[in-house]
Symmetry: C2
């Protein structure tokens, strides 16, 4: 996934769950500012930060072999 897709995934997942940035930040234990920056494409979160956010949303960070077929 490209950087923008990771952001999009987090943002959409949060919206589907109907959670505000403020609530997600609190539940994930990260600063609201950090989440705002990430979602607005201004950030470069650490792996720990991304994992904390993903976790609250019922998601996980993973690594997979790139599929050349899949455009």
């Amino acid at each position: 996934m490209h950087y923008s897709d990771l952001i999009k995934t987090i943002k959409e997942r949060r919206e589907v769950l109907n959670v505000t940035q403020k609530t997600l930040a609190e539940l994930a234990g990260v600063g609201l500012r950090t989440l705002k920056q990430f979602e607005s494409g201004k950030g470069n979160p650490t792996l720990h930060t991304l994992q904390k956010i993903s976790g609250v949303l019922g998601m996980e960070v993973c690594l997979k072999i790139r599929n050349l077929e899949a455009k």
Copy 2:
């Protein structure tokens, strides 16, 4: 994936490809020290750093819904 699994995945993939930390660091454009710290479990790389490393190894960082079934 847990943090340690992400490390393991990167490390094993690098070894399967028979690439040294030095070479991978150079190809990925990250400091050798950064890669060493990550692989030895001492680091907390930024998303950009992890993407650069993964990319060289033919992998990508992704987010997926956690599967409760899968142990």
